[in-house]
Symmetry: D2
Subunit: 218 residues, 4 copies
């Protein structure tokens, strides 16, 4: 069994709750209230700003092959992905200035700083392990609920979700997994599991934060 397969199994109890989280279900069925989707998009925009920082940290430390991939992903996220998000914001009637002026919610900040700490203090492979649950779980979510999606009448939601069922997206997940499977040392397996499970918990908490539209307690 590959290392990433082991990681996936170790976090299975968390992933089951992710795959069927009410936010996910209502997003793929189309029933999700628009204000919750808007909330999610604003949070995710901030999350994206952290993703490219994390890939930059990984690129600064990794060997050439992984560094190149990390830079490609960082660059794409800081350009293409950002541009896509800005288009989506426009469709939602929001301006970028508005979004940037909103303080990210506590759970989002906690998740982002967990990723940055891991990528700053640990090895590049530890960093990829921390980032993987985000990429991979979106792929599994889209795969699991693609029938529901085909009946979804909310064009915005459908367009958003389609990205995650493409072959390109599946190949990206496989590529990230291969870095871990090929270069990850079994010496670090227990630590990888801990990181993978923690990041998976944050994925769950991120959906939950969006569903309840979490705010700061003060």
């Amino acid at each position: 069994m590959s290392l990433t397969h082991e990681l996936r199994l170790a976090a299975d109890h968390v992933w089951r709750k992710i795959l069927d989280h009410p936010f996910v279900i209502e997003l793929f069925s189309g029933e999700l209230p628009l204000n919750k989707f808007k909330y999610y998009i604003v949070q995710d925009y901030n999350y994206l700003l952290t993703m490219y920082r994390c890939f930059s940290l990984i690129a600064s430390k990794a060997d050439y092959k992984l560094a190149r991939k990390a830079l490609e992903l960082a660059y794409i996220e800081a350009t293409t992905e950002m541009a896509n998000y800005e288009k989506l914001l426009n469709k939602l009637g929001m301006t970028l200035d508005e979004v940037v002026s909103i303080e990210p919610a506590p759970t989002n900040i906690a998740y982002m700083n967990y990723l940055i700490s891991t990528c700053a203090l640990k090895s590049p492979i530890h960093g990829i392990v921390a980032l993987l649950p985000c990429f991979w779980s979106y792929g599994e979510i889209a795969e699991k609920h693609k029938d529901m999606l085909s009946r979804n009448k909310n064009e915005l939601y459908v367009e958003w979700a389609k990205t995650y069922i493409t072959n390109e997206y599946r190949e990206l997940i496989n590529e990230l997994r291969r870095f871990i499977d090929e270069y990850g040392s079994s010496h670090d397996k227990e630590e990888f599991k801990k990181i993978f499970i923690t990041a998976s918990k944050y994925e769950y908490m991120f959906w939950n934060m969006s569903y309840v539209m979490e705010t700061w307690p003060l």
Copy 2:
């Protein structure tokens, strides 16, 4: 008005809620249930492990004078402070192994990773600004509630709290403030305020986490 005085004022709405948080009041009056105190001590032990990491990051980047102070604090925390905590754990009937095996609560992890991210990605002075609310608010708490403390019958709580009313502790706070006041550039004032307020919010949330004995949602 000194820079740190401005920071303190900017976070005043948060500090008022810190100074009179029920956990704080009950700790200084002696009414705090022991299981809440135990919970707090276990969380704080983990927090201490992050503190010395943060001071190490600051020392790795700072000029000699600040680096030396940061190393002194890091070293003291990793040795004397740790030893004091272990004694306290013994008095509470807990072993170190027990404590280390407990996963820190979400709010604690969020706070710790906020500090690490700030110290890893920002300048040494930004790092000190992030660490200051912890040191400084404990001093203000102890000062504000020292009369209450003199009537507190719980020896454990009194012994714990006494540290924060010593001249040595007050001088430590002043020393940290002086680094910011002397070397902090006014160019960074708005960013310093944001960091100081965020770390103050985390202080509030840490007391709250301990009062409700927060656990992971999954």
Copy 3:
């Protein structure tokens, strides 16, 4: 006078020696022995691997605007530039495996680690200041010797040098300068000067290393 103009003036005594270094003169006139050019290209290939690490470190810490530019440059260097170098290596009858197996010379390693240390321990703007002399001096060299280049009969050298007289290249230098001029704090001016002069000295020493084909003393 802009901050970068001041930096340029402060290092003028070094730049004069760079602009007329025998390696530079012979490269632009075409008289440079091919084995010296080959030596230079192998060293520069390794230097390039450091450049993208430095831009990654800068991107991990910078605000969005600078981070995006740093990522663009890092990504271009790790892909397009690398590919160009590999083509050039082929023309020189060298394989990539050969090049990668050669240990970089002491001066090159010293320069690379100076850049990495600066980008790892200092602010993003300090990092750009350290990287600027490389970009900028190549522009000045090409500008100063373009007449000589027009009479150069060595196609390889001409093709290599042409890059540095394009408008795109000039615009890149201006863009890097603008980040420093707009975001650099005058508070840091003396430190910027020290970094700019040191990196300029390393530029001079890099040409010199290539001219004498430096090797390790043991």
Copy 4:
């Protein structure tokens, strides 16, 4: 054979040249001209400032046990060791201000930035591997030449050298070696060797730099 024993063997060709370098021989016999010793001490003072930065970087990333040791060493170097150096400077008729105003020589800067880059971008154990040749070779030098030292008439040199034949010093080397032997993964052995040999070469070049009293080429 322990991992560090393997590292020592892999660098044996370099260590032989270190152990009998003219600077080392003349220092232990007492024949070394005082101006060369002064030059060395000034360079070493700067080197010390880098050592505590490196241990700080290691402490920021290591597990508790290694972090505590790294902090202890960093703190001792930033305080006791620094104070010892200042006393020595006084005996040599130099003030601290003088020393601090001298720019470190190129070889020293190259060595320092190599250590910082390694400690900043690699794992804590990689960092210890980079720092070990300095500690360990001083121990072997002192052991090899202790008879010569017993006939050395230069009190300053004798006092300086005595540190490196104490049991405390030998125990420190053993402790650093144990971290590598216990926690170093065999997965990283080839990289460890490369780092150990490079740092050993820098040790040799540092003695050489001091013997020729190296200056900047411009």
